[in-house]
Amino acid sequence: MIKVKNLTKTYVRNKALDDISFSLDEGDILGFLGPNGAGKSTTMNIITGYLSSDSGTVEIDGIDILEDPAGVKKKIGYLPEIPPLYNDMTVQGYLEFMFKLKKVKLPMKEHISKICDMVSISDVKSRIIKHLSKGYHQRVGLAQALLGDPPVLILDEPTVGLDPRQIIEIRKLIRNLGKKHTIILSSHLLSEVQAVCDKIIIINNGKIVTSGRTEELTATGKATNRIELVIEGRKQNVYSILNSIDGVTKVIEHEEREKGCFEYVIESSRDVRRPVFRAFAKTDYNILSMKPVSVSLEDTYLDIISGKTEGVNDNVRNI
């Protein structure tokens, strides 16, 4: 449905995108993750035809954006980072304007009414946009993206400014929309991407750092390779026992938890829970707790963008 090949974009001297490629099938929901200035919005702006790339191609449903920009734009509903709202118009007036601007061929009143119900803005339809709260602005922006039921939806941080209840509603809505639409969304909230998206691309400094299906990326978290322990006994001795265990790469000592009991976090190249247990069973030192630390996608993400994960570029693959 969406094919992006070798996109490159340079702003003056700053390379915003460097050889970005990915493809999505119909019904996929892709989450774009990355720190500020990573290139998420630039990629989205190029796909929607707002910006042009220096090189590379964008194809939506087999149509190249350079060959038939209007044809591609008709297939995309776009919610930019700042919703493009005319503050002097009423919600109904604005949506009617966008409906006509997008040359939608559906019965106008019914269609707008259906979309307003979907994003829960029916109660403010007759109000002037500038008098609405940020949450409503975001939802009106989402409503205009949905006009005409475009097969592709591109949503740049769709839940910004919403309250927790609305966030849950909008996520649910996006998941439902994903059954019929192909969606790309960007978010700073990793939990949101995890909750909503089938696929994830992590982008940093204009390059794809890693990409894959959400469950794959979550599974690559080193859940059993980091263990949190509370051990009773002399700190120095415990430390040397832990270090002597085969596979342990790093031992970090933390504060005293109870009298004579210290907390340690060990990192290892493999699962060392059993060797640790056996090593201490032979001594007088007691393990009071042992807990594998779950590395969430957030940790993986932070590791990746701060360059801590070695060989991150090896992970790059087309999804």
Binding site: Y11, S52, F97, K103
Partner: protein, 234 residues
């Protein structure tokens, strides 16, 4: 395209701008009409049109200032540029809305003509010719204003700059008078809006004046299109 045109035209009256422009234009037009026609007792409205030239100079930047600048500021240009509408289509729709807004101002001349017709026989050919001439002048001013508006995010900067540029082009004949070489003087003077519009005010219809104003409008609309297109590649 018609959606953008209607929205822009409506937005003049969603804010005080449209009413203010109409009020200023009609106020001065009324004053000049009273002083130069009714008070002196003539049906010749040429002097009214000549005097209104400078009011037009001031009013049109108010009409065009927000056309692109505000879209950039509010980020609504993203909605326009990602919609299945061409950039020339967007530029032309906005230009047309500004021109129609200005044409509404010109209606005051018709009202004044009708007022005159109760007392005497006004020369309708002069009035209609002048309205036509002023619409041409307005289209050139509007195109320049739209071009300036596409260069900035600030409506105030857009208004002041377009006023300055319009005034400069309009006063080229005054500047030309300081040039010693006749050929250069005549050339610069021929570019002046005031010289060109003066012919209409006197009731002289010249194809070259029409072509001049239409060309200026076309050139600046084309430049606006280039500015927006270039931004996509920046």
């Amino acid at each position: 395209m018609s959606a953008i045109f209607k929205r822009e035209l409506r937005s003049y009256f969603n804010s005080p701008v449209g009413y203010a422009v109409l009020a200023v234009f009609m106020f001065f037009s009324g004053i000049f009409f009273w002083v130069q026609c009714l008070y002196v007792g003539t049906s010749n409205m040429s002097t009214v049109f000549q005097s209104m030239f400078f009011i037009v100079l001031f009013v049109i930047p108010l009409i065009t200032m927000r056309l692109f600048a505000e879209d950039k500021k509010q980020k609504t240009e993203q909605a326009l540029l990602t919609a299945p509408v061409s950039i020339p289509g967007i530029v032309f729709s906005k230009f047309l809305s500004a021109l129609v807004m200005f044409s509404l101002c010109l209606c005051s001349y018709i009202i004044e003509g009708i007022a005159l017709s109760f007392m005497t026989h006004p020369d309708w050919s002069v009035i209609i010719g002048n309205i036509f001439g002023m619409a041409l002048l307005g289209s050139a001013f509007c195109a320049i204003g739209i071009f300036i508006s596409s260069l900035t995010e600030s409506v105030i900067v857009a208004a002041i700059t377009s006023f300055a540029i319009n005034a400069l082009i309009s006063l080229l004949d005054t500047i030309a008078s300081t040039v010693p070489i006749d050929a250069v003087k005549n050339f610069i003077s021929s570019l002046s809006f005031q010289t060109r519009y003066g012919h209409f005010a006197l009731g002289l219809f010249s194809l070259s004046d029409i072509v001049y104003f239409v060309s200026i409008a076309f050139i600046f609309l084309f430049l606006t299109d280039r500015v927006i297109e270039r931004k996509r590649w920046a």
